[in-house]
């Protein structure tokens, strides 16, 4: 039997629509499932309380604080390096062996699994550099992990800055570094921020790399060299050890909300950027 092209198209339409629906249902089921069980756990006591009995009772304040510290630390370390690399790639070289090597490095780094970052951070920072399980070791490890994201997005953002802006600066006698600082970077800022925020999202969500480097202590970290447990690690431990399913759902919900918020900010920045360019 020969199916006419238009009939065939209708069959395909139905099949693809079904697949799309299935995909969307699966993805939104995950969020809905966590939200339905986790939202009611969120109370002021849960958010701002200290955990008791290993997290079976009480709140998750130390893990929220640890997550914020470690993420900020990773961003503070990775942003200058990432943006610097991007500036070098776009402003100081033409396509050459150097740019290819740097870009290869960034691509390769982006592909390294987080467990490898964890092993590396454990051996280098925790053991060899004697930082112990600490905010510092965790933040450094995560900084390396999000570096490629920041390099790639900053590079694109800087490339998108129109050339005539630079020429205006040069014609007014601006030095290269001045042009970059005063003209290029401010114009590329939304794009750069997008990369930084995406990196933030990855840091918040990461478990494998942080559990080996930042540790799992439930105290509020008071110094760079204190061990700390992030929300993602706390969730993993609560769920796996069966300490408190209720609190696990609550932590997961908070984690998802935080990451969705972070991403919404990133995408709205990106959206504004692309609209400006048009």
């Amino acid at each position: 039997m020969i199916i006419k092209p238009l009939a065939w198209q209708r069959i395909v339409w139905v099949a693809l629509a079904a697949m799309t629906l299935l995909t969307l249902v699966v993805l939104f089921f995950i969020i809905g499932f966590i939200a339905s069980k986790g939202a009611r756990v969120i109370t002021p006591e849960f958010l701002f309380g200290m955990p008791a009995r290993m997290g079976k009772e009480g709140g998750i304040l130390p893990t929220i604080i640890a997550t914020i510290y470690i993420t900020l630390l990773a961003i503070i370390i990775a942003t200058p390096i990432g943006v610097g690399s991007a500036v070098y790639l776009t402003e100081y070289t033409r396509e050459s062996a150097i740019t290819r090597i740097v870009r290869f490095g960034a691509d390769a780094l982006a592909g390294v699994p987080s467990i490898i970052f964890g092993l590396f951070g454990f051996i280098l920072f925790v053991i060899r550099l004697r930082m112990g399980w600490s905010l510092a070791a965790g933040g450094l490890t995560l900084a390396f992990m999000i570096l490629p994201t920041i390099i790639r997005t900053s590079e694109e953002a800087i490339r998108a800055v129109p050339h005539n802006l630079r020429e205006v600066s040069y014609s007014l006698g601006g030095a290269k570094s001045q042009t970059i600082m005063r003209v290029v970077l401010p114009n590329a800022l939304p794009g750069i921020l997008t990369g930084v925020i995406l990196g933030m999202g990855r840091s918040v969500a990461e478990t494998a790399a942080t559990i080996f480097t930042a540790g799992s202590s439930l105290l509020i970290p008071k110094s760079l060299f204190d061990p700390a447990r992030t929300m993602a690690v706390h969730f993993y431990i609560l769920a796996r050890e069966g300490l408190s399913m209720e609190r696990a759902y609550g932590t997961a919900f908070l984690l998802i909300v935080a990451i969705l918020l972070i991403n919404v900010v990133a995408y709205s920045l990106m959206f504004r950027l692309t609209r400006k360019m048009r």
Binding site: R53, M54, R130, S216, L218, K222, S223, F225, R240
Partner: protein
């Protein structure tokens, strides 16, 4: 108020205001790291101790026995925790047994099988027995769960249960039987318990202190793990939880260890299902 004290107080305040300031753990803050089996109990002891001694900070850190040995040897933490016996090359550390821990064979609460001989217990894990019917239970395939290679809990189980009925080799040593390759492997007591709690066909082994109402201990050779059978040595699968120190413990570490070995520390451990050493 003497000047140095004021200076110290000012520094302390500054440290509180600047939580990300540098500075390695002071005399009033110590870290424990190591065995995930000991971790929950140490966490609890630390909570009690910190409640009695405000100003002291004790962070407890998982990672596993070997990570604990490594950390205490390189003085990254003050006290290591181990649930396995030390290797000859690790014997330089000071070992302080803090409690006896019985390893209980557990099944789902709905499983009617409550007693096994030593040989049956071994055969379940070597894969020779694969159906509950052979053990007097319902006609259902057995899902056995073991711990990961290197775990202290697994080593004790190997030495006490898996060697049962095995022939001696030419050096007069009895080697434990090998686990069947399709036995599930989990890396914590809690996750073994969670699987057994959710699967009526599952069997695993965990610290007896962690048994809850969803799982039931199985008598091995007619003996169930109770305080009496553990202390008298009649229950066959018992190991010690160790604190490790590089040289004799001093300062806060010493005070904390003294508390753990005191009557109230030991009582706290006994309430959680461990057996006192003192």
């Amino acid at each position: 108020m003497p000047i140095p004290f004021r200076f110290a107080a000012a520094l302390a305040c500054a440290a509180l205001l600047l939580p990300l300031g540098c500075g390695r753990a002071s005399k009033t803050a110590i870290t424990l790291a190591g065995s995930t089996s000991v971790e929950p109990f140490a966490e609890l002891l630390a909570e009690h101790y910190m409640a009695q001694h405000p100003g002291i900070k004790i962070s407890v850190q998982g990672g596993g026995s070997s990570a604990g040995v490594r950390a205490v040897t390189s003085r990254i933490c003050a006290i290591g925790m181990s649930s396995r016996e030390l290797n000859p090359e690790e014997k330089a550390l000071v070992e302080i047994p803090i409690a006896h821990d019985a390893i209980a064979l557990i099944v789902n609460a709905r499983n009617p099988v409550r007693r096994l001989t030593m040989a049956q217990a071994r055969d379940v894990f070597t894969g020779r027995v694969r159906n509950w019917q052979e053990l007097g239970g319902p006609n259902r395939r057995i899902t056995a769960i073991t711990r990961e290679e290197g775990s202290g809990t697994r080593a004790s189980f190997d030495e006490r249960v898996m060697v049962a009925g095995m022939p001696k080799d030419k050096d007069g040593k009895t080697n434990p039987a090998a686990f069947a390759p399709d036995v599930l492997v989990q890396n914590s007591n809690g996750s073994v318990r969670e699987i057994v709690a959710s699967d009526p066909a599952a069997i695993g082994y965990i610290s007896s202190g962690l048994i809850d109402e969803r799982v039931a201990a199985v008598a091995i050779g007619g003996v169930t793990p109770t305080e009496a059978t553990i202390r008298s040595g009649r229950y066959p699968v018992v190991r010690d939880f160790l604190f490790l120190s590089c040289g004799e413990p001093t300062g806060t570490a010493k005070a904390f260890i003294e508390y753990v070995l005191s009557d109230s520390g030991q009582k706290a451990l006994a309430e959680e299902g461990l057996t006192r050493v003192k």
